[in-house]
């Protein structure tokens, strides 16, 4: 990440020329000029051979854009004859087919396993051109969620909550002794004692508010250390 100040850009803001830069995510080109298409944070990244500089705009707000292979937390909307419809905070509900769960299910008995309101940790199996989404439970550590609580954050803030190589989430786990799972779709599952959960909620709120600043991990560590005396 660059050392420059993070700049917030608004849609239709001029970002650069195609002669100088390459068009990245969150931008569009018109008459050789690159413009932002969303409200977001400006980010310039170089390609591997350092020949091109890409202009990207990372969204500040907006719905989760499903990407294959992402781990998400879904809430079952409806049990169908041979699968379930799962809300994953994307513009569209995702389909979970009976073949994609680790249980043997008789036809029409889907309701016995998952029903309206149940939460699951799932992986996005496939997103096709028309944005039809399929999720799966056939992967490591994927299961129906029992206990704990789920909170919603802006999907765009998820990378900050996880931190570089999971540094932030490791901090949270270390100081609060909670079990935490962050879904890429902006849902976070937390389980632990009440005190710990409260601490996690407070910290996540802080991270969300200060997501655009630098040196956040250090500040959060200080924040957590302050009143966590019994760190193991």
């Amino acid at each position: 990440m660059s050392e420059e100040k993070r700049e917030v850009v608004i849609p239709s803001q001029l970002l650069g020329d195609t002669k100088e830069y390459e068009q990245g995510q969150g931008t569009f080109v018109e008459n050789g000029k690159i413009y932002s298409e969303i409200l977001g944070v400006l980010n310039k990244s170089e390609s591997k051979d350092k020949k091109k500089t890409y202009i990207n705009v990372r969204p500040l707000k907006g719905r989760y854009d499903p990407v294959e292979g992402d781990f998400v937390i879904g809430i079952v909307e409806e049990a169908l004859q041979s699968g379930w419809l799962v809300d994953i905070n994307a513009p569209y509900p995702a389909l979970l087919h009976v073949n994609e769960v680790p249980w043997e299910i008789e036809f029409g008995e889907t309701e016995k396993y998952l029903n309206h309101g149940d939460s699951i940790m799932a992986k996005i199996l496939q997103v096709d051109v028309t944005k039809k989404i399929q999720v799966t439970l056939n992967d490591r550590n994927l299961y129906k969620i029992k206990g704990g609580q789920i909170i919603d954050v802006e999907p765009s803030k998820v990378p900050r909550i996880i931190g570089k190589k999971g540094s932030m989430i490791a901090l949270l786990k270390k100081y609060t002794r909670c079990r935490i799972f962050v879904g890429q779709n902006g849902r976070i599952w937390i389980d632990g004692d009440n005190e710990g959960i409260e601490k996690v909620l407070e910290t996540i709120k802080k991270i969300e508010n200060e997501a655009l600043s630098y040196g956040l991990t250090n500040r959060i560590e200080a924040f957590l250390k302050k009143d966590a005396k019994d760190v193991r």
Partner: protein, 245 residues
């Protein structure tokens, strides 16, 4: 719109009823992100107009037959509150608000990158809380800010402004009496970056020359309002960055 009346709309000094110059806008105040249940929202005050706009989605378009497999549909709903006008307005959609909803939907569809969300719908709710002429312009302007606030990809932030003719003179941004007793009203919505026209309606009579003059004046007004819009969005999000640094 009655063309003949005894009401004097422009005084001997060339000032209007509320003391404005012919090419002066009413006071505009815009605030982004005011509702936390909506994905994006905006509260706008434009003279005596008070408008609240909220954006929901993109979400699956229902009923299913309204879905477009290639792009998102934009559903704007313009609604006037019963208490927004002097005499109570009968609640619910009427012919006027259905028309305004339609033209605003079409204007917004032009600038939103709808092909990013096939089968989805983007719902824009525009509530007029207090009305004082030019509510469709105020509504569309508020909707533009709310869409940007919702993080919806678009080519530009749409903006609208009206011009009109009172006492035989072309003026910018008609007030209530000017709208009621003036000769013509010309609401214009543009994409300020390209100057592309998104909405153009007219009520009353204008000669060709007057039309050109009024149109240019309205476009000029749009650019002024556009700056206020951009500032409102920047204020909401740029200060958030400044505070922690």
């Amino acid at each position: 719109m009655s063309s003949k009346s005894d009401v004097k709309l422009i005084d001997s000094k060339g000032k209007r009823l509320d003391g404005r110059k012919p090419d002066e806008l009413r006071k505009i105040k815009i605030e982004a992100g005011v509702l936390h249940r909506a994905e994006g929202s905006c509260y706008l005050e434009w003279g005596g107009n008070k408008v609240l706009a909220a954006v929901y989605g993109p979400r699956e378009a229902l009923p299913k037959h309204t879905q477009n497999p290639l792009r998102a549909i934009v559903k704007a709903r313009y609604n006037m509150a019963a208490f927004s006008v002097e005499d109570r307005k009968r609640p619910g959609p009427d012919r006027r608000s259905v028309e305004i909803s339609k033209v605003i939907s079409e204007a917004l569809e032009k600038i939103i990158l709808t092909d990013k969300f096939p089968r989805a719908s983007i719902d824009v709710s525009i509530e007029v809380l207090d009305a004082e002429a030019g509510t469709r312009c105020a509504g569309l302007t508020a909707a533009g800010v709310a869409l940007a606030d919702a993080g919806i990809p678009m080519k530009d932030i749409p903006v609208a402004c009206a011009a009109g003719k009172i006492d035989g003179k072309v003026v910018l941004d008609l007030g209530k009496e000017e709208d009621n007793f003036g000769d013509a009203d010309l609401p214009v919505a543009i994409s300020p970056r390209t100057g592309e026209i998104l909405l153009l309606q007219m009520d009353g009579h204008l000669t060709l020359e007057e039309f050109d003059e009024a149109f240019d004046l309205a476009v000029k007004g749009c650019h002024i309002v556009s700056e206020i819009q951009k500032k409102a969005i920047a204020d909401k999000y740029k200060t958030a960055v400044a505070e922690v640094e």
